[in-house]
């Protein structure tokens, strides 16, 4: 019996050692791949003129309330993404702020919204599958009927996208769902359909990646055709190509995203962090997976524990029962 206990302890020590290992997550969990019909947005900062037309269009398409700033309650004027704002154009400015798309004495625009990660942290984090990634379009949608409001998605999202209705007695998580209700009917995201310059361009992610390659090969200063609204709309906007940063943000960051950015200004200037290729989510769930291996380990440990407790409890009570045998006998 003693030997058995030692064996058990050895096993327990082994699983403790496992806890401390740096688990190679690529083995533990298959990293999500881009769905074949994934749709997304290519936002080209150099084409954006900051007209903000995408913002009210987004509110209208998604029945969102205006977000007032200061004393005025006349027009929508959000300062950042919030539980009332799914999409916002923000401006980078430096020095005199005169030259467009210049890091020095210039300015540039960036569109912030959910990037619809290929391996989304929020979807892995959500305990009740309220956030899910569509198998064909790859759109990350939210189901308020499942959500328990634990806000783990907010902790997990590396881009700080999901917002919470703090002032509601029965709050929801709010984030861009890429106008999935319009995409379902063959439409495109509202922000892209109103964008006059094609800065927000809707399309299949694989086609958008081809388009980014075309743009990266453009000679800066020469005039090119840029598709407007969506890749297959047939509408074009002629414009001088900018001097692009040779990096498409979202193509590889944390496993890649379906909304991608192109810009002539470094992405750090917009507050977009430089991320590794592997997502944090694969590290966390890799460890979780290695420890539990589909609940087999916990069940084995439970069986061992039951065995030992049963044995020890009897021994423990054995001494007791000797003294109280009479009383026990009387009861039964």
């Amino acid at each position: 019996m003693k030997i058995k206990r030692r064996d058990f302890l050895k096993g327990a020590a082994g699983s403790l050692a496992l806890l401390s290992l740096d688990v190679d997550s690529s083995q533990a969990r298959t990293v999500q791949a881009l769905p074949p019909d994934a749709v997304g947005i290519l936002y080209d900062s150099t084409l954006c003129v900051g007209c903000n037309a995408c913002m009210p269009a987004c509110k209208q398409a998604n029945n969102m309330q205006p977000d007032f700033t200061g004393d005025q309650e006349v027009w929508d004027n959000p300062q950042d993404l919030s539980s009332d704002t799914l999409n916002i154009i923000k401006k980078y400015s430096s020095g005199t702020g005169e030259k467009k798309d210049s890091e020095v004495d210039g300015y540039a625009f960036i569109k912030r919204q959910c990037l619809h990660c290929i391996d989304p942290s929020c979807v892995t984090a959500c305990p009740v599958s309220a956030l899910t990634k569509d198998e064909s379009t790859g759109i990350v949608t939210y189901n308020k009927d499942a959500c328990i409001g634990c806000r783990y998605c907010q902790v997990a999202c590396p881009y700080n996208i999901p917002k919470f209705e703090w002032d509601s007695p029965y709050p929801e998580i709010v984030k861009c769902q890429l106008c999935s209700h319009l995409v379902e009917k063959g439409g495109i995201s509202a922000c892209c359909s109103v964008c006059p310059t094609g800065a927000s361009l809707f399309g299949k992610v694989s086609d958008l990646i081809v388009e980014t390659r075309r743009r990266l090969q453009m000679k800066s200063g020469r005039i090119y055709d840029f598709p407007v609204s969506s890749l297959d709309s047939g509408k074009f906007h002629q414009y001088k190509a900018a001097k692009y940063v040779h990096h498409v943000y979202g193509k590889e960051e944390l496993g890649g995203t379906q909304v991608m950015y192109m810009s002539a200004v470094n992405y750090e200037k917009f507050g977009l962090p430089a991320f590794p290729k592997e997502s944090f989510v694969s590290m966390a769930s890799g460890i979780q997976y290695a420890i539990y291996k589909g609940m087999v380990y916990p069940l084995v440990v439970l069986a061992g524990l039951i065995f030992m407790v049963k044995k020890n409890k009897k021994e423990d009570e054995g001494t007791h029962i000797e003294k109280t045998t009479d009383a026990e006998g009387g009861q039964s």
Partner: protein, 382 residues
């Protein structure tokens, strides 16, 4: 079968009354939260979605409530029967600690009416650490009440229930050891997902192991802390010999933890950051300094048999372990873009209310139900 006895005596002591008053304030803020939303009483925001309700009430509170876990592990798994008198008081404290952590979660989650979704197989997300923690804690609260229920059986002489309970009690105890092992380590895994938002001094793949070890030594420290106070307040007699044996075990766990903690920081090249004098570095040092103080005190055999030294060491260890958990969940967490968080009065009152309820319920139960064994053979024979 247990030698424990209900203590009896006056229920409305000054402590009990003060706890009830604090609970009254708690009820006011809890009502406000349900009518006007979390934002009406809390400083939580989209950058810091988790505040003290999670970091203290659940993450630290459940470690404080690991006394029942470690004592069951000692007595029933490692067969150290001599600690038997400590099991039931520890279980009682754990039972309320976890139950009120559950209450806190219910106040914290926004869409509490949807909580049943955790139990719908088609909604379960087995990849989610939160799912595992929620299921484990939910089940463990139930297990703790059943583990403690022999006290109800003895009090109300529930013979039939007692017979059934006796048949399954070893399975309950085994679950009561397995579940905390799982969710206490998973509380560490949880914050891995925070990625770059969590300072590298706390973001490491060893977090599950570090959380499990803190749960163990904080559980033991809590047994000493609570035991010392109860034996004074309720005049239970001297339990120092048991505490000194427990504290010896603690030195091993604590030493192991500190070696892993510093080795991990060293291997990841974060030692410079730790000693850089930055706020984060200092919080890391403070957290470990408290644990080292506890370890140094307990490493002397003379101190281990001195009730005062034991108590001071237990407090230092509880503070150090709590700070580690606070650092991981709030202080070391920075979502970027200028978000700040400090708990509001309402948030703090909710937490104080939960602590007050715990103390009130504990003092009530030890008077009504058989929890403590009195070890004063000489006096009681007189």
């Amino acid at each position: 079968m247990s030698k424990a006895k209900a203590l009896g005596g006056r229920i409305f002591t000054p402590t009990f009354t003060i706890c009830l008053i604090i609970t009254g304030f708690f009820l006011y803020f809890a009502a406000k939260r349900f009518i006007f939303g979390i934002g009406s009483i809390a400083n939580l925001n989209d950058g810091f979605p988790w505040g003290i309700w999670i970091a203290y009430d659940v993450v630290v509170g459940s470690a404080f409530a690991c006394g029942g876990y470690v004592m069951a592990l000692m007595v029933y798994v490692l067969n150290k029967g001599e600690f038997h008198p400590l099991v039931r008081p520890a279980l009682l404290a754990s039972m309320f600690g976890y139950t009120l952590a559950g209450v806190s979660v219910f106040l914290d989650i926004g869409r509490y009416l949807n909580a049943y979704n955790l139990y719908l197989p088609w909604q379960m997300n087995f990849h989610s650490v939160m799912f595992e923690v929620a299921m484990c804690i939910g089940t463990y609260i139930f297990v703790l009440w059943l583990e403690f229920s022999p006290a109800f059986v003895e009090k109300w002489k529930l013979k039939n229930f007692g017979t059934i309970l006796n048949k399954i009690v070893f399975a309950l105890i085994a679950l009561g050891v397995l579940l905390p092992t799982m969710h206490q380590s998973s509380l560490g895994t949880m914050m891995l997902m925070a990625g770059f938002k969590l300072d590298p001094l706390w973001h490491t793949s060893s977090l599950p192991l570090l959380f499990l070890l803190t749960a163990l030594f904080m559980g033991f420290a809590m047994v000493i802390f609570e035991g010392t106070i109860s034996s004074r307040v309720y005049d239970l007699g001297d339990e120092t010999s048991m505490f000194s044996r427990i504290s010896r075990i603690m030195t091993w766990i604590l030493g192991f933890y500190l070696v892993i903690r510093f080795q991990n920081i060293f291997m990841r090249g974060e030692m410079g950051h730790a000693f850089s004098g930055s706020f984060m570095g200092n919080m890391f040092l403070l957290e470990n300094l408290l644990l080292v103080i506890g370890l140094v005190i307990l490493s002397s055999a003379a101190n281990r048999s001195n009730p005062r030294a034991l108590f001071i060491a237990a407090v230092a260890i509880l503070l150090g372990g709590s700070l580690f958990r606070f650092n991981t969940y709030i202080i070391g967490f920075d979502p970027g873009t200028g978000w700040k968080y400090f708990p509001s009065v309402g948030e703090q009152v909710i937490t104080y209310g939960l602590i007050a309820m715990e103390i009130a319920a504990y003092t009530l139960f030890v008077k009504i139900f058989p929890v403590f064994e009195v070890h004063k053979p000489v006096e009681s024979n007189q």
